[in-house]
């Protein structure tokens, strides 16, 4: 992790391609087997536009964009998000999620990293902020 940070600096970014397999894998790993994350019929019945990625999958993959730059994930002291828009995962085409991590605030001992997480040109997480220790 570089020693000199500036507000507005992009410290990490990546694109993640989600498929239905990603959702089944996350369901198994997390224990969240809500069928709206893998069954089109259930998603349709409850009025959703399609099968949705788990919000916690989006939250989880977003912060993992930052960890290789941070080196030690123990530097993370706080992470919070609002789930503002769902990520619809198409059965054949999947869904592409883009994560950009930017320095949002700085003091001598800590920084706030803001995560911009988008799908189909729409922001899907609100106030996605990570507080990290610098020393």
């Amino acid at each position: 992790m570089s020693d000199v940070l500036e507000i507005g600096q992009v410290v990490a970014e990546r694109d993640v391609h989600l498929t239905r397999e990603s959702l089944v894998r996350y369901a198994g790993a997390s224990g969240d087997f809500n069928p709206i994350h893998y069954r089109d019929d259930v998603a349709a019945r409850v009025g959703l536009p399609g099968v949705l990625a788990h919000g916690m999958l989006t939250m989880g993959l977003s912060i993992e964009t930052l960890v290789p730059w941070l080196e030690d994930s123990g530097r993370i002291t706080e992470y919070g998000v609002r789930f503002t828009r769902p990520v619809v995962v198409h059965p054949e085409d999947g869904a592409d999620v883009r994560v950009v991590a930017t320095v949002g605030a700085l003091d001598d001992e800590s920084a706030r990293i803001d995560l911009t997480v988008t799908h189909a040109d729409t922001t899907v997480l609100g106030k996605a902020q990570v507080r990290i220790r610098l020393v």
Binding site: G28, A29, G60, S73, G74, E78, G80
Partner: protein
Amino acid sequence: MPVNPELLGRAFAPTPPYLVGREKVREFARAVFATDPQHTDVSAAAALGYADVVAPPTFAMVIQDLTMQQLLAEPDSGIVLERAIHAEQRFRYSRPIVAGDELVARLRVTGVRAIGKGAMVTSEADVTDADGAHVVTTTSVLLIGGEE
């Protein structure tokens, strides 16, 4: 039954100890597209000073889920899972979760706010290790829709 406003302030018994397994951490890491070796390689984790592989930051959700099951099992809660939307999530860490940790969570309901026929329910779970030391506090906001 609407969400019970008397849930506010309710505290729950500690969850049964959850032993964090190394392969579980690896499985979870793969599921959240975690590429950093500290999550899967014991020697990479050791180089950072950890006793075993380091769980991704949102792994704490697995422990929080045990507490949410306690909340949903309350006979008077009025919380119906089918009408619940996960609105916000937050974690405050003292340290990362590491394979081998034996974790206990204590849930309390810190907010119940009526919104129309539904409610916004905030709950916080303090997760501690076998020594009783704080590991992470998870905060979850659920938006519970009212009955049609």
